[in-house]
Amino acid sequence: MRWIRKNLVVIAGLLTLAYMILPNLVVMAFSFNRPKGRFNYSWQEFSLDAWKDPCGVADMCESLSLSLQLAAWATLGAVLLGTMIAFALVRYRFRARGAINSLIFLPMAMPEVVMAASLLTLFLNMGIELGFWTVLIAHIMFCLSFVVTAVKARVMSMDPRLEEAARDLYAGPTQTFLRVTLPIAAPGIAAGALLAFALSFDDFIITNFNAGSTVTFPMFVWGSAQRGTPVQINVIGTAMFVLAVLMVAAGQIITNRRKKTATA
C-alpha cells in the first residue's frame, strides 16, 4: 500500500499513457483481421491479406498520395511565410505589432468549424471551384500560426551577440544570415515544419468543407466509416505509427552520438 502511495504519480501517468496507446494497439491488431461483412470492428480470424496488398482498395492509395503531396506543399508555404513573420515580430519594433500578434493568435483560438465554414462562404461567393487549390490555401492558412509560434520561440531565445560576433568578423548580412542565424533557428523551423505537416496531413474538418469532390486520406477514412472500413486502413495507420516511432528513435540515436563525440 505504501508503495502505491509513493508511486501514485507514476501509476497514474502510466495509466494515462495506456489510455493513449490503446487505440493504436487496436488499430495494429485489427490490421491482421479478416472481417466478415463490410466493417472491421470485431475480431474474426488472423490474416495477412491486407498487409500483402495494402493498395488493394479502390482509391485509397490515391487519396493517401494526394494527402502527402498536399501536406508537403502546405508545409513549404506555411514555413516560408511563417518564418518571415516570426523574424519580423521578434527582431523588429514597428507599428501594428500588437494587431499582427492578435491576427496570428486568432486562427488558433477559433473552433475549426468556424474557419472551415467561413472559408466556404468566401469560395462560394467568389465562385471559386472547390478542389486541390482551395484545400491547399486553407491548409497554409491554419498551419501558418503554428509555424510562427514555433519559430518565434526559438528566435526569441537566440543570443544576438552571436550575430554581432559574425559581423565583427566581417561577415556580410547574407553570410551572417546563412551561416549563423539560419542554423541556430533551424530547430524551431524544423519543429514548425513537422507540426504543419502533421496538422495538414491529419486535417479533416476544414478539408471536409472546402475539398469539393477531392478526396484526401482523412476524407477517405471518413467515407469508409459509413460505407464499410477496409482492413487496409488499419495497415496504413499502423505503418504510419511505426514509421513515426522509428524516425524519432533514429533522430534520438543520432543526437546522442553527436553529444558523445562532442563531450569526448
Binding site: 523588429y92 486562427p107 468549424v113 472559408l119 531565445s157
Partner: protein
C-alpha cells in the same frame, strides 16, 4: 556545440540591439510580414466578413441569396439549436477537465520522474498524432462495443449502473452514449493538454522543490504551493488548446455518438453541406465563435496569464 552555446546565453532576449535604421532598413519588417499577413487577411479575416454577410441574408438555393439584414436568423437558429450548444459546451468542458486530470500526472511523470525514459515517453505521447486521428477514433468503436472486454468489465463492476443513473450511458451500452463521445474527445485532445503542461513543468527549477522540502513542506503542500502555481501557464494554454477545438468538433459525436449526442459542429456541418441553408449555418457558426471567444477572454483575464503567445 551550438546547443551548449545557446544554453549558456542569458535568458530570452525580447529586444536585440537596434541600430539607427535607414529608410530601406526600416521597411524590412514590413516586407517580411507582407506575404503571410496578406494570406491571413484574405483567407482568414475576409472569409469572416463574407460569413457575417451570409448570416444576414435570406433566400433559397434556387432563387439565390440576398442581404436583407435579417438578424432574426440568429434568434431562430439559437432557439432551435440551443440544446446542441449546451451539449457542446458541456461535453467540451468535461473532456477538458478529464484531460487535465489525466494529463497532469503524465506530464509530471515525464518532466520530473522519467529520467532516461523521458524521450521515449514524449515520443509515445506524440506518435499517435501520426496515425490519422479518424482511424484511432474508429478504433474506439471496437473498444467500446457492447461485447468488448472493457465494457463487460465496467458492467461487472456495476460502473455502468452508476453512469446510466447519471444519464451518461444507457443500460449496459457505452457506444452511442454521451460517455462514448466524451471519451473520444478526451482521447483526441489529450496530447494538446500534455505538451503545454510538460513544457511549463520542465521549466521549473528543481531547487525550488528542494527548498520547499527544506522548509518542511509535505509533498502535497509542495505541489499545492510551488509546482501547481508555477505550471499555470501550461494549465491555461492546455485547457484552451483542448476546449476550443473540442467545442467545435463533430467527428467524435458523429462516429461514437447517436442522434441524441449531436453537437453544434454536427449541426453546422449538416446545414452547410447537406441542407444548404447557408444563412442559418453562418449564424450558428458565429454564435459558436462569440461564445467561445467570450469564454476564452474571461478565462484568460481570470487566470491572469496574458503572455500566452
Amino acid at each position: 556545440m551550438t546547443a551548449t552555446l545557446t544554453k549558456e546565453a542569458p535568458g530570452p532576449v525580447e529586444e536585440p540591439v537596434l541600430r539607427k535604421p535607414s529608410t530601406r532598413k526600416r521597411l524590412v519588417p514590413y516586407w517580411l510580414l507582407l506575404p503571410g499577413i496578406v494570406w491571413l487577411l484574405v483567407f482568414f479575416a475576409l472569409p469572416m466578413i463574407y460569413q457575417a454577410s451570409t448570416s444576414v441574408q435570406t433566400g433559397s438555393l434556387e432563387k439565390g441569396f440576398e442581404v436583407t439584414w435579417h438578424f432574426q436568423t440568429y434568434w431562430d437558429a439559437f432557439q432551435e439549436y440551443w440544446p446542441q450548444f449546451v451539449r457542446s459546451l458541456l461535453y467540451a468542458g468535461t473532456a477538458t477537465l478529464l484531460c487535465l486530470l489525466l494529463g497532469y500526472p503524465l506530464a509530471y511523470l515525464i518532466a520530473f520522474k522519467a529520467g532516461r525514459w523521458r524521450n521515449l515517453l514524449l515520443v509515445l505521447v506524440i506518435a499517435p498524432f501520426f496515425t490519422s486521428f479518424l482511424i484511432r477514433t474508429l478504433a474506439w468503436k471496437t473498444i467500446l462495443a457492447d461485447d468488448s472486454v472493457v465494457v463487460q468489465a465496467l458492467n461487472a463492476l456495476h460502473f455502468l449502473d452508476v453512469t446510466s443513473w447519471l444519464g451518461w450511458t444507457e443500460g449496459d451500452r457505452v457506444l452511442a452514449t454521451p460517455m462514448a463521445v466524451v471519451c473520444g474527445l478526451t482521447y483526441n485532445f489529450l496530447p494538446f493538454m500534455i505538451l503545454p503542461l510538460y513544457t511549463s513543468l520542465e521549466r521549473i527549477d528543481g531547487r525550488l522543490h528542494e527548498a520547499a522540502q527544506d522548509l518542511y513542506a509535505s509533498p502535497a503542500t509542495t505541489f499545492r504551493k510551488v509546482t501547481f502555481p508555477l505550471s499555470m501557464p501550461g494549465v491555461v494554454s492546455g485547457t484552451l488548446l483542448t476546449f476550443i477545438p473540442a467545442s467545435g468538433d463533430y467527428v467524435n459525436a458523429e462516429l461514437l455518438g447517436s442522434t441524441d449526442t449531436k453537437m453544434v459542429g454536427n449541426v453546422i456541418q449538416s446545414q452547410f453541406l447537406r441542407v444548404l441553408d447557408y444563412p442559418t449555418a453562418a449564424a450558428l457558426s458565429f454564435i459558436l465563435m462569440a461564445i467561445v471567444l467570450g469564454m476564452v477572454t474571461v478565462y484568460i483575464r481570470r487566470a491572469g496569464t496574458e503572455d500566452l503567445v
